[in-house]
Amino acid sequence: MTSLGQLDLDSETAFALLPELVMLAGVLAIIVIPNLGDAKFRLPLTRIRIPILVGGSRLESTNDPRLPNRIATLTFSVAFAASLLMIDSSSEEVGGLLRSDAFSRLFSAIFIGALLLVSAATTHRIPAKQNAAVPKEDDSESIASRKISVLMDNRRQVDFHILLIMVGLGMSLMAMSTNLFMLVVCIELASLSTYVLVAFHKEEEVGGEAGAKYFIVGSAASAVGIYGMSLLYLWSGDLALESLAIKWAEMQGIDPFAAFGIGLMMVAFGFKVSAAPFHLAAPDAYSGASSPISGLLATASKAMGFVALFRVLVMITAPDYGEEASWFLMLAIIAVITMTWGNLAALTSENPKRMLAYSSVAHAGYMLAAISVIGSGLAGEEGTRIILIAITFHLAVLVLFKLGAFLVLALLETDGRGHRMEDLHGLGRKEPLIAGSMFLFMLSLAGVPPLSGFLSKLLMVNGIVSSSADTGNSSAADVYSWMDTVDPVFWLAAAIVVNSALSLFYYLRLSLVMFFEEPEKSPRLKSASSLRMAIMACSILTVLCGIGPVSEWLVSLVSTSIDSLMG
């Protein structure tokens, strides 16, 4: 490797890495603060006792089991604000491996924003109780087990939130990586943490199974990807993205090392974005994990995969105008299979979490289709830019409505429900605001105007059509002969439209059971204030990001970041 420079922590780099340093401080705080106690050190031979804080019995303020959650939420809020503010600042190289620019900062804002919502939801999903009682000898078995589970939830707080911040750290650094090796290491940091988070309720069978499945498939995919990376290294001798791109452009024909390397890396990234046929573990993982974590997998983790695809496919191997990339056809076919498979499977699932998991597979298909258009060589620079803006915008707003939908399920889960369609019955009458938000999320997922899901889908379809529709013979007499002449890329747009129409059925089905079906029994949902606030924030932003000044601000933010990616 050529430029693995020193990482000098001067004030400039410190500022460039501000969100990451905040998260690092958050991790340290979560480890240290709950252990602070009233221990004192007596100076030998005197009576003076100096408080040393570490050890002894805990202080009143540090003994609160809710502390880790608060620290994590605070950490994510600060880091989120920092990333958002840094989008407009100039790009800054850090240590030759990282670059803080508008693109990476936008994505760290997306990742950390998602994590902020997850951490707010976890306050109620894995609740910590102050003054939890210890089971006594004469407690009946059920009471004792309930008390034990409360105690376990209290014990788990620290682990859970450290892992959550580690996910943020890995994802955020990953968006900044300018070196393939760094990129893969950061993905692994984030992935390994998510494997544990998925299996977090290991005493439950589904949780353990989901985590194990996700871990095994995920690590196999990573292994394949790393093998691919090693092939790329053999081919180029350098893993810096820029030199890889130059090497690729200079390459005569197709070097098998390079092609295999890229192809194998696609497997790893394909698993992250849950593209068919690597998506099979996703529905199990999503339905086994607690809902906020499933939402995290469906949004932030997916966005991470797409950043990797941007970096590798678009930045290294994008073809010149008029040429077709070697991966174009493969990716286009995978995209169509992914979206169709996702939607068909979602149509038949009876578990809302599985349904959302499959719908997220379908959404990955839409975005892959858009990426594959870049590979077709029809897009040109302007077309590429529009498509990248569309995908990035979609990933950003997906955090609002996809994660929002999972948060609604998380609210149901606080009562141990949310795994069956029946659990949603009657929600419209009991909780009109929550059901209304869920309805909005579903409509936005389906892409109904004026919600933000429509805007992003329209931008994608527009990108595809404007690259391809001109290829059709405009003087064709009837629609069949026109269809014959149009470039096959056009059919990707048609596939997205048809699939969106198909997806309406299950989104509407989920929405309508909330209003139409009578509930079997109707206990009121827990008050869960911060979770409700998170859901409300998501639903308001889902509308605002679709129409009006907020959406415009977001689009301009996204286009700045794409401009910085494309240089």
Binding site: I386, I389, V448, P449, P450, L455, L458, L459, V461, N462, G463, V465, S466, A469, G472, N473, S474, S475, A476, A477, D478, V479, Y480, S481, W482, V497, A501, L504, L508, L512, F515, F516, G546, I547, G548, S551, E552, V555, S556, S559
Partner: protein, 530 residues
Amino acid sequence: MMNDPLSVITLAPIAVGMALLILPKLTDSAEGLARASRAISMGVSLAMLAITTMVFLGEIGNIDWSDYGSGYSLTNDSFLLIPSIGVSWTVGIDALSFPMVWLTTLLIPISMLVEWDAKRGHLFHPLILIMEGALIGVFVSLDMFVFYVFWELTLVPMFFLIMVWGGEDRRYASLKFFIYTFTASVIMLIGILVMYLYTPDVASSGTITGHTFDLGVMVSSASGIPSEGLRHLVWIMLLIGFATKMPSVPVHTWLPDAHVQAPTAGSMLLAGVMLKMGAYGFLRIAVTALPESTIAFIPLLLFLGMVSLVYGAWVCMGQTNLKRMVAYSSVSHMGLIFLGIATMQPLGIAGALFMMFAHGIISPLLFAVAGAFKHHYHTLEIGSMRGIAHHSPWLAGHMMLGWMASLGLPLLAGFVAEVTILIAFWMTFGWLVLLPALTLIITAVYYLTSMQKTIFESDDPHHGILPESLHGEDPSDITWHENAGMLILGAFTVLFGILPFIFWDMMSDWSSGFMLEFLTQAMESEGVKP
């Protein structure tokens, strides 16, 4: 944008309605607000009626309705909503939309009046207010995106009106209503998007897609869609969206269910204004943007219109449920609108426009009558109650006026529309006119027989035969507010029957301008004689 009356009448009802729905929930001390919300809603809707009427009286002389190209009036500087995809807030009216806007503002206070004592009125009246804003938004917006948003927004209050205040089968009816119209409008959306993707490049205006949703641009550039086949496809997609709303056979089946289950005010608005959205959108978008396709598909329009007309009327004869019968008669009358458009005569199109307006006055009257009947006699079965004239002479009078107007009695509003459409039909299709003309006889048959069965025909000259659903109790007479609402509607039915030119002039000017601008040229190129 706030000093422009059209934005006010669109947004104010929605804002006030939302506030009335939400505010009482948020604060505990706002019970007074909940109690007052009925009065506030009525006040706002009357203010909207006043504004629209003032606009009508103030601007009527200054507008050249026949100048189609710049015929939109009251447009202001547009306000960009989503610059990145070219969506802006642009509103305007012309002779196609103005009567509909006025009709909406007229029907909203009347439907509130008729259901003045609705259960859960603090929710009911604000919902109707939201409905008003959404309906007006459909008619005034000159941006396709905004148009579509309002189009879908009308579904929400109507859905809740049917589901919360509806009859026994309300779940089924509201679900069917929602699924039919929503699916159809998604198909329409695809058509709109195809048109959008072929608007000329306007990259200078700050869009990143290079296209715009501006109605005028979309309509004029629709001929740039490559290949006739694709244009026809777009036209068909638009037709599916609009015809389902109208509704035309074979996608009409949601309408009778929705009407029978909906509360009176819901039925009045559904029949009075919502059905007209279909015809309005068809003329505004499908016919205007793709005149060649329209002309190529005249046989289809003719077929749909004819089948709707005849089938609707035929089915009416077999109905025993009052509301269902009126619903099918709406299907039948909407068929006439298609026939009017299919004539491709200025007279026929003007007749279709007047039909939209006249049916918008008459059918709410019919549904108000049916609602009052249900309310006081607890049944909708025709024939279970005989001799209403003895018990509720006012109700009998309104019923008779409404039915007479609906079957097209001269000097009432429906006659003007029917006769102009038939004349235009004769001018274009010759003796084929006998088919729609004879169908009007069927209309007369079902109205007259049910009139005889309900209003008259009692064995006892002093008492009617009361339905079993009353369990032997005496029915109460209709309330003052029901009576007042029906009186106003009845008065307008007569007024527009005697003085149709209040709106007729602008409609006929508009249709001739419209023909000149779009259809004549297209007809020549398609080889059809104008």
